[in-house]
């Protein structure tokens, strides 16, 4: 399936990646090429096959629902591009 420029723009928006208008045609072409390659999957008969959901059949382990970690605010914020007063800081979200 060919990806047109509008679809490429929409996908970039959904992925939260800024793509300049001038770069959209090239991106659309590349995405179309990759998706075209995936069309081969349509040649496989998958009738009655369940989608694979786990690599190794296993039941996830459980543990008691208790706090096992914490009180590491400084460590959590250490790598933040902008942290103030013990919080992550971001541009204004609500007017």
């Amino acid at each position: 399936m060919a990806i047109d420029i509008d679809t490429a723009r929409k996908v970039a928006k959904l992925a939260r990646i800024r793509v300049e208008e001038a770069d959209l045609p090239k991106l659309a072409g590349q995405l179309s090429g990759i998706l075209g390659f995936m069309e081969q999957l349509n040649e496989v008969d998958v009738t009655g096959v369940e989608p694979m959901t786990s690599v190794t059949p296993m039941r996830l382990k459980r543990r008691a629902d208790v706090v096992t970690d914490g009180n590491i605010q400084a460590q959590v914020l250490k790598n933040a591009p902008d942290a103030r007063e013990g919080f992550f800081a971001v541009p204004k979200v609500v007017e």
């Binding site: 800024r18 590349q30 989608p51 190794t56 790598n79 541009p91």
Partner: protein, 494 residues
């Protein structure tokens, strides 16, 4: 032979006998690393940490009872989070990131006494087959074609690991493998690389690419070294819910060299159209070696092989688009410079456009598309169904009595850096044709150097094992290695 070119096994024995100190061994690697800058393998050097760890290892060795990895100098792929040391996944979006924690794999290696020399180059977020998507610039293969000084790719994504081990900058290195990222670079550089069964090694603290496919493993100079190092990396970890709570056998003890009566399958679907005759000939030689060793060679069929690459290139980007959503400029790494009036959405979009390279952006967008409303069933669910069929192919041949499968590791020898620059992205994906099936099915796979091509470049074969049967798999690889007698080294030009 200077100590940096030793195997882990040789160094272990020499360290235990007191023939060399861990500090001297580490120094010989640090010297080689500084002389090897042209390879661009080590991207963050950590000599102070290395020497401190080496001194601690010497103290432990003096006390006796030191584990096998005690005092062994290693390179660590940049994908592993290492406390207080840059861990960038070769991406600008993680520039400046110094984790406050240590990955389980590196913790286990350090507890066993291993020494970290530094962080190794790779493709950005492990997405690539040539190391050319790295924010540090590509690593270089120490091997060159006979009579040529054209620089070749060490493969990817664990290209820095492969280059460093092949050039004797370290004794061994960690790698990770999502679609072939340990096995393909190992084959391109004449070393050994094993991707363990999914769940054998903890993924905690390794920057995630595709969580249902990622697995870490050792990249080493011999199969014995792979066994020793995997031993130290493997095991259950409560911090990774997909890590298996099953005993880890003694891998080195499994290297008996006896494979008589075992059944090795040769899948006809791996005989691809247009496969170079040298790869074909290498495979035939490998088959003869296995047969000579007393194993039964059996033709098998894995009918859905052809669909593995397209299924992989739906599933891996889908998982990546989710995993990489966390790089938003809020909690760590890079945040773009904002203009007056930019809100949080502009911050996300500009940060991700700045920080991610073109291949990573493409894969995130492909993943976003195949997971988006209206396309989820057509692409993602269909790919997961095909994945189930690929896994079933393997289960069927194993149930029929096949113990392991022998295939080529790569469709070619190492290619020139920049040679694929103008190629369609899909052309690069074809590098993974023999390796992705193993990740999709969650199986263990190992690449073993078997010969040189006419241009003098190394070529490898791949062995695929039953789930959790790394011990047997390493033994088959050991037999192949002994019979192939691959001893060639890259001629030093750097």
């Amino acid at each position: 032979m200077s100590a940096n070119s030793w195997t882990i096994a040789a160094a272990r024995d020499a360290l235990r006998k007191g023939e060399i100190s861990a500090v001297d061994l580490t120094m010989s690697c640090l010297t080689a690393i500084d002389a090897g800058d042209a390879l661009n393998a080590f991207v963050h050097k950590t000599p102070e940490i290395a020497l401190e760890q080496a001194r601690a290892a010497d103290a432990r060795l003096k006390g006796g009872e030191a584990p096998a990895m005690c005092g062994i100098p290693l390179g660590i792929k940049d994908l592993f989070c290492t406390k207080g040391v840059p861990s960038q996944a070769a991406s600008n979006i993680l520039k400046g990131f110094k984790p406050e924690y240590e990955s389980t794999v590196t913790s286990k290696l350090f507890e066993a006494g291993a020494v970290m020399l530094g962080k190794l180059n790779m493709d950005e977020f492990a997405m690539g087959s040539s190391n050319e998507t790295s924010c540090y610039g590509n690593a270089v293969n120490p091997w060159q074609r006979k009579g040529s000084n054209v620089q070749l790719t060490p493969g990817g994504s664990s290209g820095g690991s492969a280059s460093a081990v092949a050039a004797d900058l370290c004794l061994a290195a960690t790698g990770t493998d999502t679609g072939g990222s340990i096995r393909q670079p190992a084959a391109f550089t004449g070393i050994v690389g094993i991707k363990p069964t999914y769940g054998r090694v903890s993924r905690w603290g390794i920057v995630a690419f595709a969580s249902s496919l990622d697995q870490a493993g050792p990249m080493t100079k011999s199969v014995r070294d792979a066994a020793i190092m995997l031993q130290a990396m493997a095991g259950h970890d409560p911090k990774d819910s997909t890590s298996a709570d099953i005993p880890v056998p003694d891998f080195e003890a499994a290297l008996t060299g006896d494979i008589r009566g075992k059944v090795i399958g040769i899948p006809k679907e791996y005989r691809m159209d247009g496969m170079p005759s040298e790869i074909e000939a290498l495979w035939t030689r490998g088959i003869e070696m296995i047969r000579d060793a007393g194993a039964e060679v059996r033709d098998i069929s894995l009918p859905h092989t052809r669909c593995a690459l397209p299924a992989y290139y739906v599933i891996a980007p889908a998982e990546a688009s989710s995993n990489l959503a966390r790089y938003d400029g809020v909690r760590y790494g890079h945040r773009a410079k904002l203009s007056q009036g930019d809100g949080i959405t502009e911050m996300y979009e500009k940060t991700r456009a700045d920080g991610f390279g073109p291949e990573v952006q493409r894969r995130i967008m492909v993943g976003t598309y195949v997971l988006s409303a209206g396309f989820y069933d057509a692409y993602y669910n269909r790919a997961r169904k095909v994945r189930a069929l690929i896994k079933r192919d393997f289960e069927t041949v194993f149930a029929d009595g096949v113990d392991a499968i022998l295939t080529p590791a790569t469709p070619s020898a190492a290619f020139g850096l920049g040679e694929m620059a103008d190629a369609d992205p899909v052309q690069m994906y074809l590098n993974d044709v023999f390796t992705v099936t193993v990740n999709l099915a969650g199986l263990p796979g190992i690449s073993v150097p078997v010969g040189l091509d006419a241009q003098g470049l190394p070529l490898g074969l791949q062995l695929i094992g039953r789930p959790w049967d790394e011990a047997e798999l390493l033994n088959y690889a050991h037999v192949l290695e002994s019979r192939a007698g691959f001893v060639a080294k890259a001629e030093k030009w750097w």
